[in-house]
Each structure stands twice: as structure tokens, then as C-alpha cells.
């Protein structure tokens, strides 16, 4: 479509897409305490990105994002995940080395109902971030590719 979306769509998008991204980050961050985690939060952020693409098209992205940057971020997310998995290789692959250890995210929490401490969980929140980054950028790349791909066929 060469016509732009209406003023209402563009204004509401400008207001809400930042809020949606922040909510997505919240869901990723608290994955070890409340429902959510890497994939769920990443999908929320990607839906904000989809909203942005629908309202502004690929023209709104010029100068800010391109496919190469997204791909590099995706690779970094994936490699961080593997690196975290290898961190506990002294005992076993995927061993949670940081839980109950006193370092980053290392506060011990007893099992059972509790008010939920953010600073616990070990490698879990870090893996949530790695997976969230990968899902965000991955779905964003897919959306851009599909949009460009279906545009090109309309232009042929």
C-alpha cells in the first residue's frame, strides 16, 4: 500500500508502542517469579514492533534499524545463551552455577510460597534475557522480511 495509515493510527501507535516494549521487558525480567520469561516477553516486544510496522511501514525504520543489526543482535543472544549453558560445565551442562551462590542473582530462596525476590534464580534471569533478545530480534527480522517480500511481488 502506498497510502499511509490515518492520523489516529499513527498517534496511538506513537503513544503505546513504547509502553508495550517496557511491559515486554518487565515480563522478561520477572520470568523466574511470575508467569512469563524469555519467549513470552520477547513476543510482546515483537508485537509492539509489528504495530509500529503496520502504522509506519518500513519507511519509519530508515536510519534506525536494518536487517544486519537485527541479525547481529540475534546471534549475540543465541551465543550468550550457549555461553551461560556452558558456565556450569564443571558439574554438568546447563548446571545453575549462580543460584544460591551469593553473586549476581544468587540469593537463596527456600521453596514454597514466598513474596518473590528478584535477585534470585542464578542463571535463569540471564538466560531469560538472552532468549528474549533472540526472540525479539528474530521475530522482527521475520516481519521485516515478509513485509519486504510481499511488497516486492506487488511491485513486479
Amino acid at each position: 500500500m502506498s497510502k499511509e495509515m490515518s492520523v489516529i493510527v499513527r498517534t496511538i501507535t506513537r503513544l503505546t508502542y513504547v509502553l508495550t516494549i517496557v511491559f515486554g521487558f518487565y515480563v522478561i525480567m520477572h520470568g523466574h517469579l511470575t508467569p512469563g520469561g524469555g519467549f513470552q516477553g520477547g513476543a510482546v516486544v515483537a508485537s509492539a514492533f509489528a504495530l509500529f510496522l503496520v502504522a509506519f511501514g518500513t519507511a519509519g525504520l530508515k536510519g534506525r534499524l536494518n536487517a544486519h543489526l537485527l541479525q547481529s543482535l540475534e546471534e549475540i543472544g543465541a551465543l550468550t545463551f550457549l555461553a551461560l549453558a556452558f558456565l556450569g560445565i564443571g558439574t554438568a551442562f546447563f548446571y545453575n552455577l549462580l543460584a544460591n551462590s551469593g553473586t549476581v542473582f544468587g540469593v537463596s530462596v527456600l521453596p514454597g510460597p514466598n513474596p518473590g525476590l528478584l535477585n534470585s534464580g542464578g542463571t535463569l534471569p540471564l538466560m531469560n534475557w538472552a532468549v528474549g533478545l533472540k526472540v525479539m530480534t528474530g521475530i522482527a527480522s521475520i516481519l521485516i522480511a515478509m513485509l519486504v517480500g510481499s511488497r516486492k511481488e506487488a511491485a513486479e
Partner: protein, 516 residues
């Protein structure tokens, strides 16, 4: 070194995954770096697979259990193993060796295969993902983990089949294959859900220990049989096979053969180790045998009428799946009474797995070189390639005769075992198997004559690059070597694998649940 040997089961899966994730980043540094990185990853994976095999054989075939995320699968106080684990026994290691072989050779062949448009880092990434998925399929000991790796291989395989997006047929083939693979995966997931709902656990050893032959278990088995037969390409679910093998780039077609065999591996694992004699083995064994006979006949018959060289070899590959299914089906049908020919049938079927991958792999790689040199895939348009490409002629002839079961190649060795053991169950089966081999020989003679002999119909065919020739030569040496010394390789590689199926259920369960 000991620490490496402890962690080697997960390293075999994690190294190609690392290669898949890091390939696009490394590719930004230049073509030579990318090729060197791919070679490094492929070589490391092959070394780790060899180390795994050596560790298992030196431990006397006792299954190795590797727990992800902890030291023991059963944290204190729990009755069900909760952690995901890898369980490696003789058959898993055999399939891992096959996967390592095709993976390394596919990477080697791909270095110079792409002529007009470069495959690039994305191709390497998908190829490593497919190889990692196949390794995960054969090494895992957890049913849901198996489903996840099944879907990983489906997605990576379809990405590679449709990789050449500038060709019309590739996209069409990739869509159809993806729809069928997804359906197969969903049937498997439904079965896994049924088993979990009944027994409360997902670990294969735990399920094997607690399985009874109730109605829901039989429904789960039927679903698993349908899903895994669809993945392996047995008739009547073989429709995706000619398009997948025909449209994929040649090295990918070779890895897809290993992928289908991993589906067969899963079927054998579920039948022998998970279910065992909890069911009426004769009925299910005969279902497998009927499917196998149909596969052999449909495969060779459809191969007779093909004029596209890659689809012809694809139908040959489908028929060979029938041979493996026939042999192991015979072994399963007699599991209750355990005569000696049952074990021999299973040994024949498993030996045929590695022979088949070597022969069909060689044929696919040779077909890739032929198409690249002649510029066309139609057999009727090719001709006279033997004048310029003498090495390729010899390699294709070796692969074709080996597949058709001509001595002294490896196909003859494994097919002889299959003929003899299936004859003991029912003579009709052996007759069908021999008939299939004869028709296959006719098919490949016609293909050889059309492509290589006769006057030149295309212009000066270019030389075949040395990496492609080297990978084909490795496969040809396996074909000849396994054919000349079958007894040695059967003792070392096949006997532990067959034993793991025939006698190994107790050891498999005991390795996880601790004796008894």
C-alpha cells in the same frame, strides 16, 4: 581427558549448535574465515563422535547416562526422574557415527558446490542446525526432548530444501515437505502427551519400566508408528520424499537420508526398548513387514519411470528404507520366541543403515557433480560424461552397483544377511527383497548408460573440484572397505547396536533407575 570423556555426549550436540549460531557473525570476516570455521566445527564434531564411540565400546556397551543440569537424574525424595538426560547405548552411538560421517562430508562438499550464487553463512547455519538436530534425535533419553529435536530437524531440513529461492520448484517442494513433517511431529507430540498423562513421566527408561499394554498405550504406539513412518518415508506416507531429495542441494540430500534413518532409529528404540514384549509383537511386526514390502516395491517401480536423475536416486533411497524396515520388522515379529535368525535379521538391517547412507550419499554427491557439469538434470539430455569425467564415472558405478547388491561391495554383504534371515520367517519376503534389488540394478544401469556412455551431447564439461571428489572418494572407500571386510565391521559396530535392541532393555532401564 577424563573430563572430556565425561562431557562428550553433550559436546557432540553443542558443537554444531555453536557453529550454527556463530556462523553469520564469523562470516563477516571473509570467505576464507567462514570456510575454515565450518571445517573446524565439522572436524570437532566428528572427533567428539568418535570419542563417544570409543568411550562406549571400552566400557563394554553399558549405556552411558549424561544428566543435563545436575549430577543425578533423581533428586532425593522424588520417584520420577525429573531432569532431561542423554542416554547413549550401542545403537545411539552407531547412528551418531553415521551422522558425523555425513555431516563432515556435506560440509566438505559444500565448500565448492555453489557455483553461481554463493550459499553463504545462512546455508552453513542451517546445515549445522540440521546436523545438531540429528545428533540430538539419536542421543536423547527423554521423549519430549526427542520431539523438540524432531521439529528442529524438520525446520532446518525444509529451510535447506527451499534454500534456492530463485527456483520455482524448490519453494513448492519445501511447502509440501514442511506441511507433512509438521503433521508427523504433531502425531508424535500427541502420543507423548498420552504417555505422559498416563504415567506422569517423560523419561524413556522410566516409561519403559512402567509401561503396561493398556488401550491408551496402543493408541500412543499407533500414533508414534504413523508419525515416525511419515518422517522416515515409508509407504504410504512417502509422498514428500521424491520432492525433498530431488529439490534439495546434493549435500543436503545426503544429510536428509541420515535424517530419515534417525526416524527409523526412533521407531526401533520405541518398539524394542520402550514397549518390548508388553504387546503382541507378531501383529505389530507383520504390520511393519507389510509396510516395508510396499515401500520396496513402490520405490523401485517409481524409480523405473523417472527421467530426472535426482528423483530417480530419491526413489532408490525410499526403497532402501523398506529394506531396513523389513529386516528389523522380522526381528521384532519373532521377539517373543527369540530364534537366532531374529538377531541376524536385526544385524542385517542395522548394517544396511550405514551401507545405505554410504551408497546413496555417494550417488547423491555424484549426481550433484553430474548436474553441475552437464547443466541439466534430465537423463535424456545428458550423455557421454565418461569421456571427460572418468573419476566421476567410476564413483557413480561403485555407488550404483553397491546399492543394487552386487558383490564385493557392502550392499551385497548386508543384503545377503537380510535375504537369509527373512527367508527363515517367510520365503515370500526374501523373494520380494531380491526382486527389488534386481529392478534397482536395471534402473541404475539405465541411468549409467544414459548419462555416461554414448556420444557427448553437452559441451566441454568442466572439471569436478577436488573437495567434491575427495568427499565422494571417502564414501567410495567405505563402500569398498565394508564390502571386503564385513565381518570385522559387524563385530565392532553392528553387533553392539543389535545387541542393544535385542537384549538391552534391562540395561537401558537399569542405567537410569539404578538396578533391578
Amino acid at each position: 581427558m577424563n573430563a572430556l570423556a565425561t562431557h562428550v555426549p553433550i559436546l557432540v550436540i553443542a558443537t554444531p549448535l555453536l557453529g550454527a549460531f556463530a556462523a553469520p557473525l564469523i562470516a563477516k570476516l571473509g570467505r576464507t574465515t567462514r570456510v575454515a570455521f565450518s571445517g573446524l566445527i565439522a572436524g570437532l564434531t566428528a572427533c567428539f563422535a568418535g570419542l563417544l564411540a570409543a568411550t562406549l565400546y571400552s566400557a563394554g556397551g553399558q549405556p552411558i547416562v549424561y544428566v543435563l543440569g545436575g549430577r543425578v537424574p533423581l533428586p532425593s525424595g522424588l520417584a520420577v526422574p525429573v531432569r532431561i538426560m542423554l542416554e547413549v547405548d550401542g545403537l545411539s552411538v552407531f547412528m551418531a557415527l553415521i551422522a558425523a560421517l555425513v555431516g563432515a562430508l556435506a560440509v566438505l562438499y559444500s565448500v565448492s558446490y555453489w557455483k553461481e550464487r554463493s550459499g553463504g553463512a545462512l546455508y552453513d547455519s542451517l546445515l549445522f542446525l540440521l546436523i545438531a538436530g540429528v545428533f540430538g534425535l539419536v542421543l536423547t533419553g527423554d521423549m519430549f526432548n526427542f520431539f523438540v529435536f524432531l521439529e528442529i530437524t524438520s525446520i532446518a531440513a525444509c529451510g535447506l530444501i527451499g534454500f534456492r529461492a530463485w527456483r520455482k520448484r524448490s519453494s513448492e517442494a519445501a511447502f509440501k515437505v514442511m506441511a507433512l513433517y509438521t503433521l508427523a511431529g504433531l502425531l508424535v507430540l500427541l502420543a507423548v502427551g498420552l504417555l505422559y498423562g498416563q504415567y506422569g513421566g517423560l523419561n524413556m527408561a522410566f516409561l519403559a519400566a512402567n509401561l503396561s499394554g493398556s488401550m491408551l498405550d496402543r493408541i500412543a504406539l499407533a500414533l508414534l508408528l504413523a508419525g515416525l513412518a511419515m518422517k522416515a518415508g515409508a509407504v504410504p506416507m512417502h509422498m514428500w520424499a521424491p520432492e525433498a531429495y530431488g529439490e534439495a542441494p546434493a549435500p543436503v540430500a545426503m544429510v536428509l537420508v541420515a535424517n530419515s534413518q534417525a526416524g527409523l532409529y526412533a521407531l526401533f528404540r520405541i518398539l524394542f526398548t520402550l514397549y518390548g514384549v508388553a504387546l503382541s509383537v507378531t501383529a505389530i511386526g507383520w504390520i511393519l513387514i507389510v509396510m516395508a514390502v510396499l515401500t520396496i516395491l513402490v520405490g523401485v517401480t517409481m524409480a523405473l519411470v523417472q527421467s530426472d536423475i535426482k528423483r530417480l536416486i530419491a526413489f532408490g533411497a525410499v526403497s532402501q528404507i523398506g529394506y531396513m524396515l523389513l529386516a528389523v520388522g522380522v526381528g521384532f515379529a519373532v521377539l517373543a520366541t527369540r530364534p537366532a535368525f531374529g538377531l541376524a535379521a536385526i544385524q542385517g538391517g542395522i548394517f544396511h543403515m550405514i551401507n545405505d547412507v554410504a551408497c546413496i550419499g555417494l550417488l547423491f554427491l555424484a549426481a550433484g557433480a553430474m548436474v553441475r557439469a552437464a547443466g541439466t538434470r534430465n537423463l535424456n539430455a545428458m550423455g557421454g560424461l565418461a569421456h571427460d569425467l572418468k573419476g566421476l564415472t567410476v564413483l557413480f558405478a561403485v555407488g550404483a552397483f553397491a546399492l543394487a547388491g552386487v558383490p564385493p561391495f557392502n550392499g551385497f554383504a548386508s543384503k545377503l544377511i537380510i535375504y537369509e534371515s527373512t527367508f527363515r520367517l517367510s520365503p515370500v519376503l526374501a523373494i520380494v527383497a531380491v526382486l527389488g534389488s534386481i529392478i534397482l540394478l536395471a534402473v541404475f544401469l539405465r541411468a549409467f548408460q544414459a548419462a555416461f556412455l554414448g556420444p557427448r551431447t553437452v559441451g566441454e564439461a568442466g572439471r569436478v573440484p577436488w573437495t567434491m571428489t575427495l568427499s565422494m572418494a571417502v564414501l567410495a572407500s567405505i563402500v569398498i572397505g565394508f564390502g571386503l571386510f564385513p565381518g570385522f565391521f559387524i563385530d565392532k559396530l553392528v553387533a553392539p547396536a543389535a545387541n542393544a535392541l535385542w537384549n538391552g532393555q534391562a540395561a537401558y532401564i537399569g542405567a537410569v533407575l539404578g538396578g533391578g
